[in-house]
């Protein structure tokens, strides 16, 4: 008689999992009710808070599609009917949103380049090279991370005035080429997780430190580099006070400055203002959705030890 080998993979058991079990999970008998109640409460809280969290966005878009009459109407319509699409082109006529976005992207691109180049080099110096006093100096890096911007704001402005850089993008972009403490910290933590043996093997093979840096560390660090780039872009899109003090000409405004100016001058035209705000948010939200995983991983990389 032929022996038939019973292979589990050949006979998959389709367990029927009811949707309720999917939601609430399995529990041994006695605890079932308590767990279900607990989880139900959690779901209710989360749904409520989630709705509260999203509601402002809903109102943003809803208002952006209303004409002034629809805005003044009581009770306010949840979904404007008919939607007043012309708010968008009108807002763009007042605020050159696309130019401001382009300016912001330009600054972000410059800064990301500078940050990636400088912070990786510095982080490598703090992690993969042993030298006396290294960790003490790194502590200084951490300490400077905690300095509020306002402490150095005024003398930096005086310095840049004397250099004649005020009014251009230079005060915003050039400092990024000298390393940012936060990213140095993040990258150093990441580099330290790369096995020392790889670098040692390369050194034995006669590779220079810089060669190890470019050929081993950098290729292995892509997720961390991506996180750094994402954070920097997000930060630049958000930055308000630096452009505020260094950029004077309206054509050079960033999106934050432009929106703030528009709000000052036309804040009673809520429909237009909400349309402009929506346009200012859309790129970064879209960007976030695409790069979500990398964002969250990046924050995890930093908050881990602190």
């Amino acid at each position: 008689m032929k022996q038939q080998q019973w292979k589990a993979e050949k006979y998959p058991v389709q367990e029927h999992i009811s949707p309720l079990v999917r939601l609430w999970g399995r529990r041994p008998r006695g605890q079932a009710t308590i767990q279900v109640v607990q989880k139900s409460i959690i779901y209710i809280i989360l749904l409520t808070l989630g709705a509260i969290s999203l509601l402002p966005f809903f109102w943003l878009v809803s208002t952006s599609l209303k004409s002034n009459q629809q805005i003044g109407a009581i009770p306010p319509q949840w979904i404007p009917n008919p939607p007043h699409w012309s708010n968008y082109p009108e807002a763009m006529a007042f605020v050159p949103v696309f130019r401001y976005i382009r300016n912001t992207v330009f600054i972000a691109a410059g800064r990301v380049t500078g940050v990636l180049i400088s912070s990786t080099l510095v982080a490598y110096g703090f992690s993969r090279i042993r030298w006396p006093g290294r960790d003490v100096v790194f502590f200084i890096v951490l300490a400077t991370m905690m300095l509020p911007y306002q402490v150095t704001m005024v003398p930096l402005y005086v310095l840049f005035t004397k250099l004649g850089w005020v009014g251009s993008y230079k005060p915003l972009i050039v400092p990024a080429f000298f390393g940012l403490p936060f990213f140095i910290f993040l990258l150093r933590q990441f580099f330290m997780t790369i096995p020392e043996e790889l670098c040692d093997a390369a050194r034995i093979d006669g590779c220079s430190e810089f060669g190890i840096f470019t050929r081993i560390i950098l290729p292995l660090s892509k997720p961390a580099l991506l996180a750094v780039a994402l954070f920097e872009i997000l930060w630049d899109w958000n930055d308000f006070i630096r452009p505020l003090i260094y950029i004077n000409e309206m054509e050079k405004f960033t999106i934050s400055l432009g929106l703030s100016l528009f709000s000052d001058q036309h804040h009673w035209q809520w429909g237009l203002l909400m349309a402009a705000t929506t346009v200012s948010i859309l790129p970064i939200v879209g960007f976030f959705f695409v790069a979500q995983r990398a964002f969250i991983e990046g924050i995890t990389l930093t908050g881990m030890k602190g």
Binding site: R22, G25, I42, L46, L49, G50, S53, L54, P56, F57, W59, I71, I74, P75, P76, S118, L121, V122, G125, F126, I129, R130, W131, P132, M146, L147, P148, Y149, Q150, V151, T152, M153, V154, P155, L156, Y157, V158, T161, P175, F178, P181, I184, F240, I241, I255, S256, L259, S263, W270, M274, S280, V285, F295, I296, I299, T300, G303, M304, K305, G306
Partner: protein
């Protein structure tokens, strides 16, 4: 007694260490330049300016302690300090608590976790100016959705941002809407809590509150320290929201430290006076950080250390 003079540093080190030192310094040289030019120099220059009267156009004029005395007499400055302390004492713990609360809820092994995570994280990534403008609309006294909701519930409509008593709590409420970043940090920290501790607690008959208090919270104390620290630093830098939404009003009730510093420096060109403010802030931040870190030895538990 014979005293031996130690050889100078460079000769004391082995060639290998020497090479490591030179290489290390070379790699971190971008940051070293930043430390000297963009951190240390401005810090010292700020100290110097704080003893002068300086408007950039004319040379600084030495005035001794006049600026500091002026600060103490300045009622707006006192109000500013009060406002910033208010925000720190009420706003920062509220943000940490909210982020922690959300993270604990999301960590319960529920479905749609990443969806909720995205929903709560989103408000924290949109540009602050855009969020500020959006909330200007939401809280608009006559037409805004918030007051409409209040009226519908039969409650009186509130002058949110123009009320002396309400303006700061309102700003704190808005900052809670953006506590998604804190939540993500706690989510990561919660992942690190060893499951066997929860199991042990369950065997001992702990309910959810005891579990939280005796297992979860102690393990995440490093993350609590981190978020409290970074939150406080941000509180010192809190500028964009109040500047865009209220310009510091009504009657300086929402003028925070960075705003007053900015006004003194860039509206009235009192560089000396604002430098004095900057140095006061610096000293306070250093003292605060030292206190926080010093106290942390008593309440922070590092699970991964011996």
């Amino acid at each position: 007694m014979i005293v031996f003079k130690r050889a100078p540093l460079m000769r004391r080190l082995t060639p290998r260490t020497r090479r490591g030192l030179l290489l290390g310094l070379l790699f971190i040289s971008p940051w070293l330049i930043r430390l000297v030019c963009l951190t240390a120099y401005p810090l010292l220059a700020s100290l110097y300016y704080s003893f002068t009267s300086y408007d950039i156009i004319r040379a600084p004029r030495w005035v001794g302690l006049e600026n500091y005395v002026g600060l103490m007499r300045d009622s707006v400055f006192r109000q500013t300090v009060y406002n910033t302390l208010y925000y720190m004492v009420f706003g920062v713990p509220a943000q940490v608590l909210t982020g922690f609360f959300l993270a604990v809820l999301l960590n319960r092994g529920i479905r749609f976790r990443s969806l909720f995570r995205t929903i709560f994280f989103m408000p924290s990534i949109i540009p602050q100016v855009s969020a500020a403008v959006l909330w200007l609309w939401l809280l608009q006294p006559q037409f805004g959705p918030f007051n409409y909701l209040l009226i519908k519930l039969g409650l009186p409509s509130q002058p949110w941002l123009s009320s002396l008593t309400l303006v700061k709590p309102t700003l704190i409420m808005i900052s809670l809407w953006g506590s998604g970043q804190v939540m993500v940090i706690f989510l990561a920290a919660l992942q690190d809590v060893p499951q066997h501790l929860y199991d042990a607690a369950k065997i001992d008959g702990a309910n959810w509150w005891q579990e939280l208090r005796h297992v979860t919270i102690p393990i995440v104390t490093p993350a609590i320290l981190f978020t409290l620290l970074t939150g406080s630093i941000h509180a010192f830098e809190y500028f964009t929201y109040p500047y865009v939404m209220t310009r510091g009003g009504p009657a300086y009730a929402s003028t925070f430290y960075p705003h007053y510093l900015y006004e003194n420096a860039f509206h009235w060109f009192k560089m000396g006076y604002s430098s004095a403010m900057a140095w006061v802030m610096f000293v306070v931040v250093v003292v605060f950080a030292l206190l926080l870190f010093g106290s942390s030895a008593r309440w922070v538990y590092y699970a991964h250390e011996g």
